[in-house]
C-alpha cells in the first residue's frame, strides 16, 4: 500500500508548505506515521518514494521541531503529532476520527491550536502605507478592530502571492495615535515571510514602521455553532463583559477571560466556514484552553490539522503552498473580492498593481482577464487529490490541475479545488479528472461547497 508510507505524503505537503523552512525530523509519538499522511493532502500519482524519504517531512538537519505553547496539553490529550510548518502539530486526537471531528465542528464546537501561525505587529506612522505597498488592501480606511483577508505580493511586480494573511487594525498606540496592525501569516512561510518583511523594511523610505513578532502568544481557533456560548461562559466576571452578539464576522475586541491574567484578542472568524473566534493569548494558554473544554462539556472538543483541512476545503478557502503560490495572482485565485474599489487601478501603488488591475477587467468586458482560474469541483467516484489533471473539451485535453481535494464529510461527495483554463471556469462545466490513470467525471461548482454560517450583522 504505497501511500501508507504516509511519511511521504507528509513530506510532500511539508515540502510544499515550507519550502524555505527545513528542519530535521524528530521522533513523534507512536502512530504518527499514519497520521502524517492523514494530515496532508497528497498526490495520488507518485509510486516510488520509499519510507526512508521521510526526511523531507521536516527540514534542515539541525533544528528540532518547535513546540507550540499548547504542546503539553496536546500530549496530555493523546494527540497524534505530525511535523507541520516546523512545529510538532496535532493532526488528530484519540477521541474522534478526522471525519467525526469534522462533523462535530459543524454541529458543536472545536478548539484548534493554530499557534504555529506567525503573529506579527506592524507599528508606526508608516505602517498603513507600508502594508499598502505589499498588499492590495485599503488599510488607511480600515477601522480599528476590523480585519481583512489579504495577500502579500511579490516585489517583482508579477502579482504573484508570497503568502495569504489576515490583517487586523488594532487601536492606535499612545497619545500620538501610532497605527498598529496585527498581521497573521502562515507557519509554512515563516522564513520566507521573515526575509520578505526584513527586505521590504530595509528598503522602506517612508514614515517609520517597525515589526514586532508576538512569539510568546498562543493562538487558538474556537470554531462551530456552540463557540459563542462557550466563549461567553469563559469571560471574566470581574471585568466588564463585552457583548459577543454585537461582535460580527471580521471584527475583534480585547476581552478578559477568567483563566488568563492579560486581556486576549478575540477575532470573530476562522478557517472552517462556521461561526467562531480566533483568540490570541499572551499568557496561560493551557489554562484558557482547558477552561473552554470544561465549560463546553459535551459540546466542545479538541480538533487537529486533519479536520481543519477538510473543513477549510468545504468552505472553499485556500491553503498556501497548494492552492496559492508565487506564480498565482489574487485574480487567478478568485480573490478579486479582497481588492477594494479604491485599489483597483493600475496606479494603486502596490506590488503588481499594473498586472492585477489589467486582470481585474474580464475578457468579456474588453479587458485582459486571466488565462486560468481557481474553481471548485465535485468529482464522481474516486476523490481527486492535489496534482490530479483536469481534462476538458472535445479532445479531453489537459485544461487544469487539482490543488486540493478530499471526500467531503458534510456532503458525502468528493470535493476539490483546482485551476482550469479560462472558459472552463463556469459553474456547471463538465470536465474529467484523472485519478490513478482513470477519468472521473467532475463538474465545476461554486464555492463554498458548504454554505458559510458566519455571525454577521443585519447591515
Amino acid at each position: 500500500m504505497r501511500g501508507l508510507e504516509l511519511n511521504r505524503s507528509a513530506s510532500r505537503a511539508l515540502r510544499a508548505a515550507s519550502q524555505a523552512h527545513r528542519r530535521s525530523p524528530v521522533t513523534l509519538t507512536p502512530r504518527s506515521f499514519a497520521t502524517a499522511a492523514l494530515s496532508q493532502r497528497h498526490t495520488p500519482t507518485p509510486r516510488s518514494l520509499a519510507p526512508q524519504t521521510r526526511h523531507a517531512s521536516s527540514s534542515s538537519p539541525s533544528a528540532p521541531l518547535s513546540k507550540t505553547p499548547l504542546h503539553d496539553l496536546h500530549l496530555s490529550h493523546g494527540a497524534k503529532l505530525v511535523p507541520f510548518g516546523g512545529f510538532a502539530m496535532p493532526v488528530q486526537y484519540p477521541s474522534k476520527s478526522i471525519r467525526d471531528s469534522h462533523i462535530f465542528t459543524r454541529t458543536h464546537a472545536s478548539i484548534f491550536d493554530v499557534s504555529h501561525m506567525v503573529q506579527r505587529l506592524f507599528v508606526g506612522p508608516g505602517a498603513p502605507s507600508f502594508l499598502q505597498l505589499l498588499t492590495p488592501s485599503d488599510l488607511t480606511s480600515l477601522p480599528p478592530h476590523k480585519s481583512t483577508l489579504s495577500t502579500l505580493l511579490s516585489p517583482s511586480g508579477s502579482g504573484g502571492i508570497v503568502d495569504d494573511t489576515v490583517i487586523t487594525r488594532l487601536p492606535d498606540r499612545g497619545a500620538s495615535n501610532i497605527p498598529v496592525f496585527y498581521v497573521v501569516t502562515n507557519a509554512g512561510c515563516r522564513e520566507k515571510d521573515d526575509a520578505y518583511f526584513a527586505s521590504e523594511l530595509s528598503k522602506w523610505s517612508g514614515p517609520e514602521v517597525k515589526q514586532e513578532q508576538l512569539t510568546s502568544h498562543a493562538l487558538i481557533a474556537l470554531q462551530g455553532p456552540d463557540s459563542a456560548r462557550i466563549l461567553e461562559s469563559a469571560l471574566s466576571p470581574h471585568h466588564p463583559k463585552p457583548d459577543l452578539s454585537q461582535l460580527y464576522f471580521g471584527s475583534s475586541l480585547y476581552a478578559r477571560l477568567s483563566a488568563a491574567r492579560e486581556p486576549v484578542l478575540v477575532s470573530r472568524g476562522g478557517y472552517t466556514g462556521e461561526d467562531g473566534f480566533e483568540i490570541s493569548i499572551p499568557d496561560s494558554p493551557v489554562a484558557v484552553t482547558e477552561a473552554l473544554l470544561k465549560l463546553g462539556g459535551e459540546d466542545i472538543d479538541l480538533a487537529g490539522l486533519g479536520a481543519r483541512d477538510s473543513l477549510r476545503l468545504e468552505a472553499g478557502m485556500c491553503l498556501y503552498g497548494h492552492d496559492l503560490d508565487e506564480t498565482t495572482t489574487p485574480v487567478e485565485a478568485g480573490l478579486s473580492w479582497i481588492i477594494p474599489k479604491s485599489r483597483r487601478g493600475a496606479d494603486a501603488g502596490y506590488y503588481g498593481a499594473e498586472v492585477i488591475a489589467a486582470q481585474l477587467v474580464p475578457k468579456t468586458k474588453g479587458g485582459k482577464g486571466v488565462e486560468r482560474r481557481r474553481v471548485g469541483l465535485v468529482v464522481e467516484g474516486a476523490p481527486a487529490r492535489e496534482g490530479a489533471e483536469i481534462l476538458g473539451g472535445e479532445n479531453g485535453e489537459k485544461v487544469g490541475v487539482v490543488t486540493s481535494g478530499c471526500p467531503s464529510p458534510t456532503l458525502g461527495k468528493n470535493i476539490a479545488m483546482g485551476y482550469v483554463a479560462d472558459g472552463f471556469h463556469k459553474a456547471g462545466t463538465e470536465v474529467d479528472v484523472l485519478v490513478r490513470g482513470k477519468k472521473r467525471r467532475a463538474v465545476v461548482s461554486k464555492m463554498p461547497f458548504v454554505p458559510s454560517r458566519y455571525h454577521k450583522g443585519a447591515a
Binding site: R2, L4, T27, F33, A37, R99, G306, P383, C406, R436
Partner: protein, 177 residues
C-alpha cells in the same frame, strides 16, 4: 461499531479455516516447520512492508488479499475503495487498487504475482468494512481480492513476513516516527 466488528473478527476466522482444513494439506515448505501445531490447519497469512496481507490456500493455487489492521487504523475512516480489475494478471508490487480516507489515498499493491479472480464488491457499497474487519477473508469481511497463484507467486511469498515479523516491523515503524 468498530468494537463490535472487532469482536466478530475474533470469532469469524473459524469458518473459512475449518473449511480449508478438511482438505488434505500438502506439506509445503511454508508449513513444515509448524507441522502438527494447530496453525498448520489454516493458511499462513503473510504480510508485506506496504501493509497488505495474503493468505495462500493449502494447495498453493489460490489466495486472498487484503490490507492489514495496522494500515486500516492508520488510514482512518475509509470512504472509498478502488477495487482491482477482475481477470488481471499482476506482478508483486503492482498497484492494483486504492483505499481512500478523508485525508489520504493509499495504493493497494499486489503482495505477490497473481491473477485477480474475484473482488469484494461489498467494499464499494460499504467501504467502512475495511476499518471494521480488514483482515477478515470471509463473506462480509474486508478482504480486497481473491486470486490464483502460479509458481512465481508462491516464490514471492518467501520475501513476505509472517504475523510475528510483521508485528515487529510495524512496531519499528512506530518507534521511528
Amino acid at each position: 461499531m468498530a468494537s463490535i466488528a472487532r469482536c466478530l473478527r475474533a470469532a469469524r476466522p473459524a469458518l473459512p479455516t475449518l473449511a480449508r482444513s478438511s482438505v488434505p494439506q500438502p506439506i509445503s515448505r511454508l508449513s513444515t516447520i509448524r507441522a502438527f501445531s494447530a496453525s498448520t490447519i489454516r493458511p499462513v497469512r503473510k504480510y508485506t512492508k506496504d501493509h497488505e496481507w495474503v493468505d495462500l490456500s493449502a494447495d498453493n493455487k489460490t489466495g486472498v488479499i487484503g490490507i492489514s489492521e495496522y494500515a486500516a487504523e492508520a488510514l482512518g475512516d475509509v470512504v472509498y475503495v478502488e477495487l482491482p480489475e477482475k481477470g488481471k494478471a499482476v506482478k508483486a508490487g503492482d498497484a492494483i487498487g486504492a483505499v481512500e480516507s478523508v485525508k489520504s489515498a493509499a495504493d493497494i499493491n499486489a503482495p505477490i504475482s497473481c491473477k485477480i479472480t474475484d473482488v469484494n464488491f461489498l467494499l464499494e457499497e460499504k467501504p467502512a468494512t475495511i476499518n471494521q474487519v480488514p483482515e477478515d477473508d470471509s463473506h462480509g469481511g474486508g478482504w480486497i481480492a481473491k486470486v490464483t497463484v502460479d509458481e512465481q507467486g508462491v516464490k514471492d511469498l518467501e520475501a513476505l513476513m509472517d504475523v510475528e515479523e510483521y508485528k515487529t516491523f510495524t512496531a519499528g515503524e512506530d518507534a521511528e516516527h
